[in-house]
Symmetry: C2
Subunit: 147 residues, 2 copies
DNA sequence: TCCTATTCAGGAATTATTCTTGTTTAATTA
DNA sequence: TAATTAAACAAGAATAATTCCTGAATAGGA
């Protein structure tokens, strides 16, 4: 994603184009794996060593409010963020703290249809999102079923 | 859940029957709504004003390790716990921070079958759980569709 | 270019959680 | 029942993520 695209994201949401915001946004698009605020700061460090961690939190909050990014729910004691705003689900790796995106329109359709039939009393469903807890398994070069 | 049942839960897991553990466990069963450590402390306060918050954290950790309770993933900056160990899902209320349990064996079956057919490369699925983001809607006495 | 609301930097404050240390206690065994 | 000991607890200090505060800088509009 180049500079023009980045500043378009900001201006589309009516946000001032500050160097800090552009840098944070760029870092978010570069880091694929659901970074924390601290990981964003580290990614930024070479380009932008002076940015304050409080500023990063402010910017991430602003981005969340404007629907540019989302918080990812985890068990851990810090917040992680996701730039992928398409509907998708997450695979939580049991062994490590990796969170992998899982896009599956067929599943989305299945769930949508299911909940259209089956209403939940007192609740209007806005969205859903499946957490898949899984174990990462390294495959051989030839795709077969063993560990 | 009476005292004997509570101490059975502990002894089944090989945990010492301390007054603190019994009290925390009782509080967890009384509080239905996915409490934080602090909420457990408040619930306990009348019966057990001297219990240390660190002790509550220790006990909750131990209970998690032993599979008596589970952590609940949220966006917020503190951990919540769940005593319901049956497979179930969570409805996250958009308006407030309420989390409602959602049991639905039919859905579980649907998901199980879906992922049996559709494998995810490099991952062995251990478990899944659906987060339903919803808006709470107060119904009239007669159940109809309006807000 | 000037003006002003917004944003930022730096650091202090807050809050949830963990750690440490000395004391107490539950459960086991004599 | 009493003695023993590993486990658990209380109290408070320490840590770490996040928020708040204040004065300075700046983006974008006039």
């Amino acid at each position: 994603m180049d500079y023009n695209e980045l500043i378009n994201v900001l201006s589309n949401k009516g946000l001032k184009r500050t160097p800090q915001r552009v840098a944070v946004l760029e870092a978010l698009y570069e880091i694929k794996n659901h970074p924390s605020a601290e990981e964003v700061r580290q990614k930024l460090y070479s380009r932008y060593p002076s940015i304050a961690i409080g500023t990063i939190y402010n910017i991430l909050d602003t981005f969340c409010e404007q629907g540019i990014i989302k918080k990812v729910k985890t068990d851990s004691d810090f917040v992680r963020y996701d730039v992928d705003m398409e509907r998708h689900h997450h695979i939580y790796c049991e062994n490590c703290n990796h969170i992998e995106d899982y896009h599956d329109p067929e599943l989305d359709e299945l769930l949508k249809n299911y909940f259209e039939k089956k209403c939940i009393p007192n609740f209007q469903i806005q969205d859903f999102n499946l957490q898949i807890i899984a174990r990462y398994v390294k495959h051989q070069n030839k795709p077969n079923q063993n560990k």
